[in-house]
């Protein structure tokens, strides 16, 4: 299938790209910047929250350790053995392990939720007596600090407090941050995509308008120039035609045939000039509502003088009463051009003209079973002065295209070599 391919020179190709670049510059980059800023702020915020949480945990658990120390100290003062004193506060729940050490930091008793797990190392204990370690059971807050009983004995209490609950809070906060980020990113991408589509549509429409304007201006320029040329040619042609007419009457009989030939050639030149003038004239559309069948019938009648068997070769399908809103003369000209092409295409098969209602439009088609148009030529057939026929001027299809477009319609062609060609026109319905 081929639609209209011919386009006059339009604006530079890079213009659209430049606009896309602008879009990237003014929308995508700020969006990415905002996303990066959000991520950065989120990371900083989480770092701050984590730092604050660690400080809070250190403080709170330090206080809890103080209470434990007081309790254990009391038990020890009462003469309770260290293992019994610890058993009262045995490791359970959030406290993973506890140990009681003497003044020489020798473990006197310990208790742990995990068999033999008491990760107390001299290398780990910092000056502040509080640190966090990672374990398969999650992060563990460690506290190591001295306390004294009333009788002056010094002990150390070591305990490990599970930070699982805090980790879960932190994890939930991270998940929520990621979710918010994902939503913002998705929304941003949707907005950006929408803007991109709008911008693309705008650029295409603007380019089409510019191309159309340029085409119009170029056409007016050519039209003015060729009208002048046609006018200048027609005057001497008229004189020549009159001269040949006089000569025809006065010349010797053996030369009359040559003079008649000359007269015909002059008439042919005049006809060509007229057709060029027709093509280059601005189209003035006078729309009216009429049945398609009437236009087809008038075209068949006009073609009958050129092709006497036209009614045997052309068949009309569809409802002839289908109303069309168009310029009767111009649409008839289009149909005549298409049918003339089909009749001259060298087909012996039937040519079918069909009219169908297609929602608010009328679909008119002309299908022949001729040799078809080679694919490499198919894209150019609507160009002016391009013809696939020997002796063709390449005006008929160009004129058909102009007329259809002047009606706000579309024309397309489907062709397959050896099988035939179909032209489809869509114009407003009545």
């Amino acid at each position: 299938m081929a639609g209209r391919r011919f386009r006059p020179a339009g604006p530079a190709e890079g213009q659209g790209l430049l606009r896309r670049k602008d879009l990237l510059l003014f929308f995508l980059l700020p969006f990415l910047g905002a996303v990066i800023l959000i991520l950065l702020m989120s990371a900083l915020n989480r770092a701050y929250v984590r730092g604050s949480m660690d400080a809070l945990v250190t403080e709170q658990l330090g206080a809890a350790a103080g209470i434990l120390k007081a309790g254990v100290g009391r038990s020890l003062e009462e003469g309770t053995p260290p293992s019994r004193a610890l058993d009262i506060y045995s490791a359970e729940g959030e406290i993973y392990y506890m140990a009681l050490l003497d003044a020489d930091r020798k473990v006197l008793a310990w208790t742990s939720l995990f068999e033999g797990y008491l990760p107390l190392s001299a290398q780990d204990v910092p000056a502040g007596g509080a640190w966090v370690i990672d374990s398969p059971a999650g992060r563990i807050f460690n506290h190591f600090g001295p306390f004294s009983t009333r009788d002056g004995r010094t002990y150390y209490l070591y305990l490990g407090y599970s930070l699982k609950a805090f980790e879960e809070m932190s994890s939930r906060s991270r998940r929520n941050a990621l979710l918010v980020f994902a939503i913002i990113a998705a929304a941003g991408l949707v907005v950006f995509r929408g803007l991109s589509i709008l911008q693309s549509g705008y650029v295409n429409k603007a380019r089409e308008a510019e191309e159309s304007q340029a085409e119009k201006e170029r056409f007016q320029e050519i039209s003015g120039f060729t009208s002048g040329v046609a006018h200048e040619i027609k005057n001497p042609l008229n004189s020549l035609s009159l001269l040949f007419g006089l000569l025809e009457k006065r010349v010797a009989p053996d030369l009359r045939e040559d003079v008649a030939l000359g007269k015909n050639e002059v008439r042919r030149i005049s006809l060509i000039v007229d057709r060029f003038s027709d093509v280059l004239k601005p189209l003035l559309v006078r729309p009216e509502t009429f049945p398609v069948g009437e236009a087809v019938e008038s075209v068949l009648a006009s073609l009958a003088s050129e092709f006497p068997d036209v009614r045997d070769r052309i068949r009309f399908e569809g409802d002839g009463r289908t109303a069309i809103r168009a310029d009767r003369e111009l649409i008839s000209m289009v149909l005549a051009n298409l049918l003339r092409n089909a009749l001259e295409a060298g087909t012996t098969g039937e040519i079918v003209v069909r009219a169908d209602r297609d929602r608010k439009r009328v679909r008119l088609s002309v299908r022949d079973t001729g040799p078809g148009i080679p694919p490499e030529r198919l894209g150019r057939i609507f160009e002016p002065f391009f013809s696939t026929k020997a002796g063709g001027m390449g005006i008929g299809l160009y004129l058909a295209l102009r007329i259809v477009e002047a009606h706000g319609g579309k024309i397309e062609v489907r062709s397959r070599e050896g099988e035939g060609t179909e032209f489809i026109i869509r114009v407003p319905g009545g």
Binding site: P82, S83, A99, K106, V107, L108, A109, W110, S112, F114, E115, G116, Y117, L118, P119, L120, S121, A122, Q123, I133, S135, P136, A137
Partner: protein, 152 residues
């Protein structure tokens, strides 16, 4: 002869042992020094002389304990490995083994060690992490002894 510690083979014995040992924790079992002390890690290579099951922790399954004789010195060690279900291997008296673990105490001419890694037959059984956290309490790998690399 080595003691088979594969779970299915040991099932009957374990039940009986658990019953017998339920109220028979060793006298030192609750002793203060019996924890994995990361500051007291040792490496030992020797020959397994005996494999047994012992109750080491209150309300816990019996642990596989290896009686090991160190190569060269002849020093005797009692190596606490882990619960029998986690160990899940046949180990026989007379086999060579290399241990990385924490020396927890010395009783007479025997030293007591809690194993972190046991290498035997070219494989390494990881029983605890570097801080002594039991692998059998640590999620996915807790189902069975995690092994890595080649030993010896």
């Amino acid at each position: 002869m080595g003691l088979l510690v594969r779970k299915e083979k040991m099932k009957g014995q374990l039940s009986a042992a658990a019953l017998l040992l339920l109220f028979a924790l060793p006298a030192w079992a609750g002793q203060a020094e019996h924890f994995y002390n990361v500051d007291a890690e040792v490496r030992i290579e020797g020959t397994v002389r005996e494999v047994s099951l012992e109750l080491r922790y209150k309300d816990r399954a019996p642990f596989v304990v290896l009686a090991l004789e160190e190569t060269g010195t002849g020093q005797k060690f009692q190596i606490e490995v882990g619960p029998s279900w986690f160990f899940g291997e046949d180990l026989h008296a007379g086999e060579k083994a290399a241990i990385i673990g924490s020396l927890v105490r010395t009783d007479g001419d025997t030293k007591y060690v809690i194993a972190r890694e046991v290498r035997f037959r070219g494989e390494t059984l990881v029983a605890r992490d570097r801080r002594g956290f039991p692998e059998w309490r640590g999620g996915g790998s807790a189902q069975r002894g995690r092994r890595r690399g080649k030993g010896f």
